[in-house]
């Protein structure tokens, strides 16, 4: 099958090697006989409703994020409708912040976001930098771990009732205090874990692919045949070890 991916602002939001995440999705889809068709969606380009099974938005430096912000505001309702219509989505770091209700600066002003995730991000004075290990339960009863790296000044505060992506085992997470990381709405996931997240967390790549296939077929998420994933497992093991040793230290 063909999986249609819309990659938002790849020219601007690519600071933490977001192309690596796309490469993982492409390869893991191909190994199961599916073709990933990636369309880049830039400033001023229209998003057609229902045109994508999976949306991707990465992170940028402050300057790049400011450059795309007005255009993203124009696309807000289309993105929210896409997710409501069952499209999968992965938002990383800056992209994760931008998809919330907004970003509150130190002067109290609010830069409005897309409003997909029920959270608000508040500017912080120190950066939260380091290795992270999370425990997630995307499907009831199935707990999986994610290992990654975070680097953010913003504190993201989830609304009560909002679902986090996971619980922080080691590291800072959304705000360094709540013990929660990321956010999930239906098939949409946002996280601070960047750089790229998917190579060493292959199960999440497969989860996203299955959700995208579900959207594409108008069916429930299929079970993908397992891959050997030896290097993936070893890379995860070392990254998780790092989070244990040095995650969440200021």
């Amino acid at each position: 099958m063909t999986i249609r991916v819309g990659h938002l602002y790849p020219e601007y939001l690519n600071i933490y090697a977001d192309r690596g995440n796309i490469a993982v999705l492409t390869r893991r889809a191909a190994l199961r006989g599916h073709e990933l068709v990636v369309e880049s969606i830039g400033i001023g380009e229209q998003m057609r409703p229902g045109a994508h099974d999976l949306l991707y938005i990465g992170g940028g430096q402050d300057r790049e994020q400011a450059l795309i912000a007005p255009d993203l505001a124009d696309k807000s309702s289309t993105i929210r409708e896409a997710v409501a219509g069952g499209a999968a989505l992965l938002a990383v770091c800056g992209g994760y912040q931008l998809l919330g209700r907004g970003y509150r600066g130190r002067d109290g002003s609010l830069m409005p976001g897309v409003g997909l995730f029920s959270h608000e991000t508040v500017a912080g004075t120190t950066r939260m930098i380091g290795d992270v290990l999370l425990e997630c339960e995307l499907e009831p009863g199935t707990r999986r771990r994610l290992a990654g790296f975070e680097n953010h000044a913003g504190r993201t505060l989830l609304d009560s009732g909002a679902e986090a992506l996971g619980r922080v085992v080691h590291g800072f997470g959304n705000d360094g205090e709540s013990g929660l990381e990321g956010c999930r709405v239906g098939r949409a996931i946002g996280t601070y874990l960047h750089g790229p997240l998917l190579p060493r967390n292959a199960w999440l790549a497969d989860w996203l692919l299955a959700q995208a296939l579900a959207h594409s077929r108008g069916d429930t998420a299929p079970t993908l045949e397992p891959l050997p994933d030896e290097l993936e497992a070893e890379a995860f093991r070392v990254a998780a070890e790092r989070a244990r040793e040095r995650g969440g230290r200021r």
């Binding site: 020219e11 690519n14 600071i15 933490y16 090697a17 192309r19 690596g20 490469a23 993982v24 390869r27 430096q61 402050d62 300057r63 790049e64 450059l67 950066r127 930098i129 380091g130 290795d131 790296f149 680097n151 960047h194 750089g195 790229p196 190579p199 060493r200 290097l231 993936e232 070893e234 890379a235 093991r237 070392v238 990254a239 790092r242 040095r246």
Partner: protein
């Protein structure tokens, strides 16, 4: 005579000697750390004793090489104190100053983050700024943050300081605007331009208005001949330029150096366009110290390589070539020099200590793709060997041509076994992997310890 300073200096020297005697990695920063702790203002006082002044050199990429080149050029006319082993924080600078008894000129490479304080403390005669690339965001923060700190530091420079900037870097060119004592250098040979901006290019958008720049020529990353189609911000006229550049694979390069004091032919025993940038930077700061183009050309011709940056080390019947990699822009240029005559075996070592960058995501911004179809076999090693292996697999390296061996010495032996006698093994290590590798090679008596002054 400042008695306290004298006592501190003597104590710090003694610590350095003990550290070296104990064989603990050269003691390049230990005495400075002590002095720095005891009395930070000692740096100001020791620097003020240098009668010909202080030169500070900073850049994301190439500061160690540029500094070493400048030392070669200036060594004949000055008694130099310089931080040759790349200890480039204030403590390293303090160490160098402590060990310099009779120097008249200080030549220091300075970490990007430490530059403002180094400027403030040493009141430099010349400041050379080579480039700003995205580098180890976990350590330095975003590029714009570093640029902002540099901007403030430059505004506070004394009027008599000569600012030497790479005019091909939009941020640096803008930072120098309005200053009187400025030398702008760059490259001018569109034959060597990249067909398009690289994936990892950083300053793609106009520093004034945010519109994407148009490049008449992009040489290394975002460095080149740029112009903003909206507001007209463009590369300034160059005071010093490399023209008619010829690259000779992994061997070296030749170019014509045009300066306000006339032109000269330069031969360089280092590969790649990025080293031409380093050479022009070293030449420019030397011109700011009134050195003649002839002396500059002679110094550059005599230069071999800075510590671990590009070294050819005989290892029995084989030769090891070591090229340091540390961020996407630098690694891309190293890989580019390998595209001419791809090595049959490549050993890449990825560590994730603080000096390497704890965040290893940068390897995904490195363009390994053009090289991988042509290389026979790659051995991935280091603390994050598996992560690196994954990157290479996604870059198109087939499983049967990849070996993942986390332990460095084991990986080195395996790689040496894979290359034929009489040929070269190319090793690309990150910083701490390079140090470990040198440790192994020193133990095997292939190289001398670095505190003895290089290979």
């Amino acid at each position: 005579m400042n008695v306290r300073l004298e006592l501190e200096t003597i104590a710090a020297r003694a610590v350095g000697a003990v550290s070296r005697a104990a064989g603990r990695g050269g003691g390049t920063t230990l005495p400075g750390k002590l002095l720095w702790k005891l009395d930070p203002a000692s740096v100001d006082a020791l620097a003020a004793r240098l009668t010909s002044g202080v030169v500070l050199i900073s850049a994301t990429n190439g500061k160690t090489t540029t500094t070493a080149m400048a030392a070669k050029i200036l060594g004949g006319e000055h008694r130099l104190v310089w931080n040759r082993a790349g200890a480039n924080l204030l403590s390293g600078l303090a160490s160098a100053l402590v060990s310099a008894r009779s120097a008249d000129l200080g030549l220091f490479e300075i970490d990007e983050g430490a530059l403002p304080e180094a400027i403030w403390r040493t009141r430099p005669r010349v400041v050379s700024l080579g480039n700003l690339f995205r580098d180890q965001l976990d350590r330095y923060g975003e590029l714009e943050l570093v640029a902002e700190r540099w901007r403030t530091a430059v505004e506070r420079l004394p009027g008599w300081t000569t600012l030497v900037v790479n005019g091909d870097d939009p941020i640096l060119a803008e930072l120098a605007e309005g200053r009187k004592q400025v030398l702008r250098f760059g490259l001018d040979d569109p034959r060597h331009a990249r067909p398009s901006l690289q994936h990892a290019a950083d300053s793609k958008y106009c520093v004034r208005c945010g519109t994407p720049y148009e490049y008449a020529a992009a040489y290394v990353g975002h460095l080149g001949d740029y112009r903003c189609p909206a507001c007209g911000h463009e590369r300034p006229p160059l005071d010093i330029a490399a023209r008619e550049i010829e690259l000779v694979g992994l061997t070296g390069s030749r170019f014509r150096l045009d300066t306000p004091q006339g032109s000269t032919a330069v031969e360089l025993a280092l590969p790649g366009l990025y080293n031409v940038y380093n050479a022009v930077a070293a030449a420019s700061l030397s011109l700011a110290l009134d050195v003649s183009p002839t002396t500059i050309a002679r110094g550059l011709a005599d230069f071999s390589a800075a510590f671990g940056r590009f070294e050819r080390i005989p290892a029995g019947t084989k030769t090891i070539v070591v090229l340091l990699i540390k961020n996407p822009a630098g690694a891309n240029e190293v890989l580019r020099t390998l595209e001419v005559g791809v090595p049959p075996v490549l050993l890449i070592a990825l560590n994730d200590a603080i000096a390497d960058g704890q965040d290893v995501s940068w390897i995904w911004d490195v363009d390994f793709e053009p090289l991988l179809p042509h290389v026979g076999r790659v051995v991935a090693t280091g603390d994050r060997a598996a992560e690196l292996g994954l990157r290479l697999v996604y870059g198109g390296l087939s499983d049967d041509r990849l070996e993942v061996i986390p332990e460095l010495e084991e990986a080195l032996d395996r790689s040496l076994e894979l290359v034929d006698a009489g040929t070269e093994l190319v090793i690309l290590p990150t910083y701490t992997a390079m140090l470990s590798l040198r440790g192994i090679l020193t133990e095997r008596k292939y190289v001398r310890p670095y505190w003895d002054g290089g290979t």
